[in-house]
Symmetry: D4
Subunit: 256 residues, 8 copies
């Protein structure tokens, strides 16, 4: 599953120069690491699609529907599928679809999946949340992970202020390969789960709350300071990042 | 147990003027709210001793042994006992004792009790802590509360990263009249306890930790943002303040 | 008024297994701490209603009218009344009412009370505010406390910049069992009241102000740093939390 | 490698009650989740040793040599080995050794390993650092991971301001199963590595730097905001936590 | 110009009791410091109007037109004039005027002056600003000071990045009795002026700017840290407060 | 290219007084440093146009179309051309154009150039950006620099999370005289470029991002803490300032 | 008392050029604003002594005894007296005295007064403090003001948590021309005093406190946010600055 | 003076492979960007010495004398001279000298120059400071720049609170090719200088100050927010970085 050695790739090019099959000038071009396509407003990395099983993800927030559709069309020509577009409105999704892009849209996490195709799913990722208000971030994680071919179990609204709701799910928690703990406000869910299980826990602070939560700072600091082992943290509201990382851990091969 | 009405006190003085027993000028002096003694470097409120059951508490940190002994001597003359002196070193305590003040000294919370005398203890306060490093703050709370005549149960090292350690104490927790939850780092203990019980919970963030705890900020924000009901927060490391407040709540009469 | 011992509940279930009245598998289900109902988007804790005198409180801010009505309907079937719904708009309240839920709506604190029924009121809670702009937070506190069966006295617009306005209310202040001090800007009200009375004071910083108040931070820090005894703090603008805590303290039985 | 299901354990106890082999009262004791030993100043969780392959880790910073030796003696009786003691001085290590505890001490990370015994090592963890000043944190990570039975490759002083130093290690980087990226100052190392590899990357901000690094805040924020996929963050200077998490990920079985 | 001694007022009341002219109970009422009128939503201090030359100032931001008009009507009955209403919109001003209140409205600082009447103006206050964007705050200061009877000289757009613009006004600056320096962004104007003159300088940071000005924090910190003598600071954007203080200093009598 | 010595200018005036050509009073007026025109709402510095090759730049954000047109008309009379107006909307630009001002408008950076005239371009400035979302800031820089007579090479979307995209541009980077590195989120681009080149690098943090980027703070701190040599930083989103500075450095004469 | 007009000074020089009494070149030298002496490590402004009644104040913290003595000797030659040296240790003071400088040293505020000579004192400044720990800052203010020729009344340890202590001093407070309010922790003293008096109040936040006072930030924000009129703020612990400003206000002439 | 094109270097190696002069495997090694020496605790980049005129700079703060001497010895063998070692104590400097390294040590900036040799100096850099306390940072800048072959003019103690001290140096300021403005506290010096000159200004905030300067934050924010053109900022106290950058700008060739 790991990255094929860059070293071999470069050596291969050099051997072609050595054999005369390729000129020095051509090699120079090729040695510019990896091919990508330059649309002016964006550079698309088609190799990433092939190598890592996930194509260029599009952070949709600051792009026009035209820009997104342009990127998607280029990717489609290179055979991309299951391309994730994060943080787009329903209006943008509709406009992209009208331009002929097949797009599955999920309104709660404001997430699109272009050229969708169901992949086989492996392993076991649990996505747990502190409250119902965290659902948008949770679903961004869960859909990302599912799109990348992972089994996902959702356990929502199990915040630590009602501990029995969480403990009722001990079985799902202890059978997970990796857990994503999503919480705003005090952000204690990650640490409590971290103390109950022995698998890696990815903590996602959310900006849900008010007053002294300061846009998610309270949950962020709480999660960084947990004394539970095996917990690490991603950016506030970064459900997508948690989904990618959870997928990578879940799909690990056994260690030699 | 509540403050005797200030109104009655003022009215009594006015009635004495009305009856001619006291002159207007004398009354003016008396009406300057409450008597206190001015030592130059400090103003001692002897009435507080009588009214609230606890005399002038001495915040020892920035005072010389001579200043502390001076305040204590003046208080002793007004019959004070069980005077708390917070945040003093063992050396300062020894120096004060050498000046003839009877002083019980507790090195972990760096707390002195001058003119000690065991009061009858009532009710039931639980002091719970996240880790052994929080013990200084916990003991400041517990000793303050005991000095003020409260029964105190100590439950230490029950942080949320090992939830079973906390849950093993459910019985003590649910039988408390008020709980003081002391925790540094992620500070989640207060919220978890708040969700398990229905009595008031006083949260004390501590500065224990490192890195992104920023001197106790992480625990403070976490505790302020808990969604558990019945939790309120005092200043970072303020074990003394939590002890006073816990005493007040524990010693409440029944509501009419 | 305290939580019935969880230990007894569990022991009772185990005794039923011992006697053969209940199978091990059934007991396992029951031992999952406490029953709650899972609506998918929320988990409702019906036991809390019975045990603590207050049902599941609904934090309305991020929920649709449909979700709120769904939760309320489920609670109604379990006999809930006086259910508080915080931070909902008048439009949401109207939509919920149109779905057949009996709802008393208070526009200033944006608070709804579903299935209202007047409870007997006991004790004496004072809610004091620094300025008229803090009224929404104050009313959230006062209405919460009244709904939970407490007598509430309102003393508004008594900020410390005009001290005589506060001192004119000494009698109400000194006769309170617990005081909630609500203030934005400099937030000094809590400390000043804390120095005048001997009952517990719950400080609520508000986000009212501008410039260097940084969304309530100035009042929050001021309140945490008071040297008055008996003061603790809840989150910025958390009138509801202050109301719950004040109710718990006000309804304390006398200590044994 | 995962946690044996808590459910089965509880069911087994309940079946014993059902069969009459164990009384309800005894079962209640057993059901208090997990056994631990209470030394007064600390609660030792002996089960954790067995279950997770790592015993109670001792955060040494605020403990006396006597407390640490006491905890270690108790753990030794339960067969613990390779117990990590973080953040202790050489003097403390000497004192503990004088009390008869076999202790391997590493001065740079100020880390002790009690009852050391070399475990078989598996997999491949890379620990990379931005500068030589980050070495204490790096070694805390590397020694923790090695003690837990992982192969560790160290790549130090490869900060992004001299990119060629990092790119010279592409081969080690791309063959890692998990990478720990340790950096202070601008903290960009984690994001750059995250863009070069497809395995999980654990970012450790350090407090190394001056001025506007604000005790590690600059590196922390930088790492949280990386747009590279697969990167998560632990607390500032938390080399130990990164080592534990890296070990868990490295020792993952293959997904089913 | 100073506050008439409260002591004399109280003594006078006490003398009336002594002489039998007033009963003790009546005196108690009077001793409640100062008369004010309670409108429910606000407490109006009519004495302040008489004593300080400025009536109750109305912070308009969070009040309805009805509330403002109610307060103004009550004040009018007590003879108030030149009442300042800060931070109200033109719409609100129009509505108040329609209710029959005579109101002079200034749109740039969003300031109203009810029952306006030109007072004699004394002394010499300079209001200087860094940029044209600070004009709203400047005008709030200048109009407040003029309404209170002070001569005001306006020197706008003289920020330190074009020092010659400021130095061209040396004559006005050195002849001022007090200067109000208003600046956003780097906020250096106050310190530069403070070094050029020997009169008191009141610094007003504004929220004008972007990026790392963090809502006025940059100007605030800059102004607090000036090493020029005689400079003090008010809250961000607090033009009104600066105007009041400048008036008090400008109207000082000569010292005995 | 440097500022003509102010000393010479002043000496010339003094010599005219010496010779009787100019009276003392007239000289005083002239010595008030530099002429500017006072429009009431703004002071226009016509000398700056002549001396520095760039006229008064207009920060458009808080000005009305009328104010901007007024300033421009006055400048036009003094022969200004290529006047930059930053942060204005398309509507404002249209209104200004309708008032007869020749205005070239660029919608992405919301930048206007009044009285445009193409200057000869010299040197070589590279503007590089981390992501497509940073384009508005980049274009503000690039257009400013081009208007001031510099050759500009744009290299966009070369963030460090895909290092090969950046390395593909090594040739452009190493042939630049000065580089402007624009990045939000983790802000690592400036430090990575700083390590690859030996020319001055101007870092521009942007507010692009979410969560723990705190409005650009993460990129700002990252850039300030880079250990790459030759990097300095301007305010968040300050593309204009970076353009001016890059122009000054690019247009340096050779050192004597 | 105000600065003599700079304009007149410059005009006089120009007139001398006009009359031929002074050459243009000599005039240029004189026009360099004001004479000062350059010691290499410091530039001494002898004119300030004459013009403002206070010589160059020496911020002692980062200077060697030799540097301080050097500055003082130079000043002595120009007739300076009553020169304040802030923040020097007793050891430094002794060393300076040994070099033959007559120095009055005050250990609590760590303040020296060189070449002391008692000035006549005028007016009435009150310095009030919240607690005894604030005394160093208070004395820096009081001694500065006395050295500059002002009458000072000290009212210490009158924090708002014991309001009667403050109210007992109403007479002194209302008879002050200007009040300096010094407080740490919650910093409420300034606002409460500001509401009781009508003279200018200078607020000095101190760094006294612990936990969430964050080095004086809590008191600073509280003081900036007061809604009392007439209050302005200087830097944390800046007793010297408050003393200078209080002196300037106290010594105001009556307004024309 | 610019970096020789990396492209040419790589192409040359490829041409050697093409011609058979070098094998593919050897080329691979060479293509690993640039040679450096790995001492285990540090990686030394000998090419940097040749290419940029300055060798590996050693950040001395966290290194032992042995480590520093080891690095220096290795560099000496590659012909390095004028190697800067920043932030080392006099003791460390003595120890290094005892190991036979020729070292010129400057105690104020705590800076060493190993293998010193006077280079020809060109151009004109002005280093200006706000106060004498900033001298350590200033000298770090000045000595760095001089070591790199630049003429440096020092103008110290010209803070904006005494503007005439700065204006007396207009001639030096306007004749500089680049200015480094060093200031703590309010940090206004950079903006004021930026408005007076037309050359690039590098602003260095220092941590000098107290209270609300928050370790240099006040000066940093002030400098970032200046509206003067041509100013950019380096890290707090980063005198070395400013010296390097000033050298690069000062030594620019004329633009084509």
């Amino acid at each position: 599953m790991n990255n094929p050695s860059k070293r071999d790739e470069i050596l291969a090019i050099l051997r072609q120069v050595e054999s005369g099959a390729v000129s020095a000038d051509t090699a120079l071009e090729r040695l510019r690491f990896e091919p990508f396509e330059d649309l002016g407003y964006a550079k698309i990395d088609h190799h990433r699609t092939l190598r890592q099983g996930i194509g260029e993800v599009i952070y949709g927030q600051d792009k026009t529907p035209e820009q997104i559709a342009g990127i998607l069309s280029s990717m489609r020509e290179h055979g991309a599928h299951n391309v994730l577009i994060t943080r787009i409105s329903g209006e943008t999704a509709d406009l992209i679809a009208e331009m002929g892009i097949i797009l599955e849209y999920h309104p709660i996490p404001r997430l699109g999946i272009a050229f969708p195709g169901r992949a086989a799913r492996v392993g076991n990722i649990v996505v747990a949340s502190g409250g119902t208000s965290d659902m948008a971030v949770c679903e961004e994680t869960a859909l990302t992970a599912e799109t990348l071919g992972n089994n996902v179990v959702r356990i929502y609204d199990v915040g630590v202020a009602g501990l029995h709701r969480l403990l009722a799910h001990m079985e799902e928690l202890t059978s997970a390969r990796v857990i994503v703990a999503v919480a705003g406000m005090e952000g204690a869910l990650a640490g409590v789960i971290g103390g109950l299980v022995s698998c890696p826990v990815i903590a996602v602070p959310t900006s849900i709350g008010y007053g002294a939560n300061f846009g998610g700072l309270s949950a962020l600091l709480s999660m960084l300071n947990t004394c539970a082992c095996g917990v690490s943290v991603v950016n506030i509201d970064n459900g997508f990042g948690a989904g990618i990382l959870a997928s990578r851990i879940n799909q690990m091969d056994g260690a030699a």
